[in-house]
């Protein structure tokens, strides 16, 4: 079946350091979304990427969709303690199914 894998599984950083999580799909995606889930919370939508090679920025967050539309990345510049949580990519297949990745848990130490 379709799989969406993320690496790393965990990342611990010092506040102010950068962070990147990578997302890879076994199949071509029609689009990809990113979500953040705080401990004990529910996923919150961050952004959607649709075009091959697309790059979008939200303040300190930079999202990229690969040329082959099978991979994506999220980069956070100068992490803050408020960035703590698990970041999920979610790939949309042509059938409208949105498949979540395995997630990367980010811990930021002050």
């Amino acid at each position: 079946g379709q799989q969406v894998m993320q690496i790393p599984q965990y990342q611990h950083v010092q506040e102010g350091e950068d962070f990147t999580t990578y997302c890879n799909s076994s199949t071509t995606l029609s689009n990809i979304q990113w979500y953040k889930q705080r401990p004990g919370g529910h996923p919150v939508f961050l952004i959607q990427l649709v075009k091959s090679g697309e790059v979008k920025k939200q303040k300190r967050l930079t999202f990229q969709f690969g040329e082959a539309k099978k991979n994506s990345s999220l980069h956070i510049t100068a992490t803050q303690t408020t960035d703590v949580g698990t970041y999920f990519c979610a790939g949309r297949l042509e059938t409208d199914k949105l498949i979540f990745g395995t997630g990367t848990r980010l811990q930021v130490f002050p």
Partner: protein, 112 residues
């Protein structure tokens, strides 16, 4: 405006019992999806409904079923509960399937 509301928030059931989880989407949202999230894992897709029609089904047994009502609210039903069904069940709504999802706070189901 109210967000996505789910009920109940917590539930304890015994093996073999049946459970019904409910979800009210954001007003105007016609697409509702259900996900199961086991602690420490990503949400697993169960069902998607749009305009009261099933648009997608994940790899879950037939014990899992769902429906969407004319007001776009939705129910997830699970029969013959197993211990492994213990999880957070999340409902998400969107304008239609191609947009970002807004998730509810979920129903925490514990099967004992």
């Amino acid at each position: 405006d109210a967000g996505v509301t789910q009920s109940p928030t917590h539930l304890i059931k015994t093996r073999g019992q049946h459970v019904t989880l409910r979800c009210s989407p954001i007003s105007g949202h016609k697409s509702v999806s259900w996900y199961q999230q086991v602690l420490g894992q990503g949400p697993q897709f169960i069902f998607q409904y749009y305009e009261k029609e099933e648009r997608g089904r994940g790899n879950f047994p037939d014990r899992f079923s769902a429906r969407q009502f004319p007001n776009y609210s939705s129910e997830l039903n699970v029969n013959a509960l197993l211990l492994g069904d213990s999880a957070l069940y999340l409902c998400a709504s969107s304008l239609h399937g191609g947009y970002g999802y807004t998730f509810g706070s979920g129903t925490r189901l514990t099967v004992v």
